[in-house]
Amino acid sequence: MTSSPFILGLGAVLAVALGFLVDQPYFASVVAYGLVLGIFSLGLGLTLGRMGYVTFGHAAFFGLGAYAVALVCVASGWSYWLVLPLSLVPGIALGVLVGFVSARLGGAYFAIATLTTAEILRLVAANWIELTRGPMGILVPVGPLPWQEALGWNPAQAYLSLLIAVAAVVLALVHNLNRSPLGRAWVAVREAPDLAESLGIPTVRARVWNVALSGAVAGLAGALVLPKIFVVTPDLFGVANSATGLLAAILGGKASLLGPLLGGLVFAVLPEALRFVDAARLAIFAVILLVVVRLLPGGIVSLMPARLRPRNRAPRPDGSAPALFAAASTAATLLEVRGLRKSFAGVTATQDVSFSVRRGELVGLIGPNGAGKTTCFSQLSGFLAPDAGEIVFDGASVLGQAPHRIAARGMVRTFQHAALARNLTVYENVLTATHLALPESVLASALRLPGLRRREAARAQLALACLAALDLGARADEMAQDLPYGEQKLLAIAMALAARPRLLLLDEPAAGLNQVEAARLAEVLRGLQHAGLTMVVVDHNLKMMMAICDRIVVLHHGALIAAGTPAEVREHPEVVQAYLGEAGA
């Protein structure tokens, strides 16, 4: 994998070398403009590539960055170069707003919201004459860069070398973010939002951060275009700008690192090379976009053979043997459920269900289809709000908390359907699930600080340990979607373990498994219980449940009808009746 010091080093060398070499102002400014577009699409690619959100209005961030710098420059009289870094701020602020408004709703809404935001800003810029001088625009004086005269460069040379350096820095930061826990969280949220949430990933916050960082980069790009255009006008917010950034990101390959930068360069050079078709520029862009979406959805980069693409390979175990799950507290009762009630439009799903789980226990939750077992899990894990009742986990109520908060408290659930990020490897999936293990700041992620490297190594070892606990170590570098079904279900448990649960809620782990796989699963669950993990298991495989559970709780039509040891429950008349019907009536 490319490392960020390599990117930065190469950027520095190129900035100096090309600064000297490209002394033709025309060429220098064309390449510089390509880099501006490239930086813009790098920012756009953060939302499009990571989150899969289409945007038709990223020019909102671009234009806002330009206007903010222009306004501050004119009002304060400070040098443009000094004010330039300020362009990050409005992008972040607008990103938080747009991200919060739309990102939780998903793709189409994001496209609409960004487009509308860009149009609102365009209208404001065009109509608030006292502030922006309207369509006339604001003239921004751009002085020479400090090192320009010392090196005997013309302004275009200095501008180009600065842009190469900035592009390298942005590229390195984006690269760092993508392989940080936050970057992995973005992919998890895109592929399986509920699973991500159940593993303790705060999905809304991850999405808002994504849009905010994307906005910051796009805003910076907008401010960087000033030395080329000198005047900021409302057109900066226009659809043409948004479309160009989008096209560059898609053409280059939205999911790749370098793709958007290359795409930006192509879209700056192409119109220059094809001067004679200048009028048809946008139309040609549109045809390219249509062809790429129809025939080459992964962009140019997808032409590269799959095995050459970077994969985060599993490292070797370093023998550190990390603790698999957080030590349970001293409380004897880990989970206390009282009077849980939930109904959907008149249908009662759970009806005053009360039970408790002691520390170290393996409790089975059984009942015929439609008994309310999964609904019960969904309420415990925060995905469904109960109509009434009390859920006390480890001495404190978790009622009304978001699923990721409950996961962070130590109650982690799995899903009936093994919902995984299918196009990641087994190891990458479990690594993503270590999100809760050690908290990480966005700053440490972007700068890849030494502390983060240390914690990443620890997370990697935890992921390996979780895979080893489920005997999946040999499968680490295989694609998750290529695993046989039985092992996919084990992978789901490995991911839940990586979230370091104190109480694990397993929803039908044996469903669809053959006998051999079910036996393997029973062994795994026994092993986990021996290691001290508390579990609640929902399953229809009664033979396995009777064999492994300490206690069994039986639900029928949403109500609890029996609870006790497997032997007691088996003899319970109501349970027999629920499963076999009215015997001998």
Binding site: G52, Y53, V54, F56, L97, V98, F100, V101, S102, R104, L105, G107, A108, Y109, A111, I112, A113, L115, T116, T117, E119, I120, L123, V124, A126, N127, V239, A243, L246, I250, A279, A280, L282, A283, F285, A286, V287, L289, L290, V293, R294, P297
Partner: protein
Amino acid sequence: MVDILLQQIANGLSVGMGYALVALGLTLIFGVLHVINFSHGETFMLGGLLTLIATTTLGLPYLAALPLAGLGGAVLGWGVNRIAVRPLLARRDGGADVLLATFAVSILIHQAVVMLWGPAPARIDGVPGTFELGPVVLTGQRLFVLAAGLALLVALEWMLRRTRFGVELRAVAQSQFAARVVGIDVDRVNGATFGIAAVVAALGGALLSPVILYSSSMGQVVIIKAFVVVVIGGMGSVSGAVACGLLVGLLEAVLGLVAGEGVATAVIYSLLLAMLLIRPQGLTGKRAR
């Protein structure tokens, strides 16, 4: 002042009827195919352009131009569906890819019209005459927009409720899978839905262009307003689209009177963001999850 206000309300309602017709197709396609057709605004624009060509170059009377615009809309809808929607629907990222492909198509249509016909706005003579209702004076065209729009809506409602195709359409909207199981040709229903939406949008353009002036960018403007209407009315809701279309037209006219056109448009657009923040499922929509 009250007189001017009443006048603006009447004007706003007629423009709102045009918005409703565009938003209706957008929401119908979303309800049935679960995708957003970004090029929908350009169909509206094409309806206006065809009316302009028919009434000036061909010298036809305005009313004869309407079927032509509807036909043009149908052809365009068929083409967009074939090129940018149907082949992408089955993909895992189908929704996003359709959005991108129809975005590309919308740029293409707009650029093609600008290059072949020019960007200059043009006046179209609609239904002549004026009618006085107390202090309010309505042009014949505005009255015609309201009447024809209402007739279109009634016809659509009848089709959705009373015809076999309408039942099939609503079945596909509820569940493509179940519709397929009972033998409904989902591809055909999808295509027909697309066609109907396009015809209605083109007719909207033909009706409204004499009121608001034809221009090559009228599609780009109307599509955002249609988004506002659809988000406020609830994505996928037909009655919501109609009610909010009228409401947005009304609000725009009244605000324009008070604060000027630019500010009015900005406020209308902001309503979309506010709605997404407060009630993302729209006024009529059910809360999802």
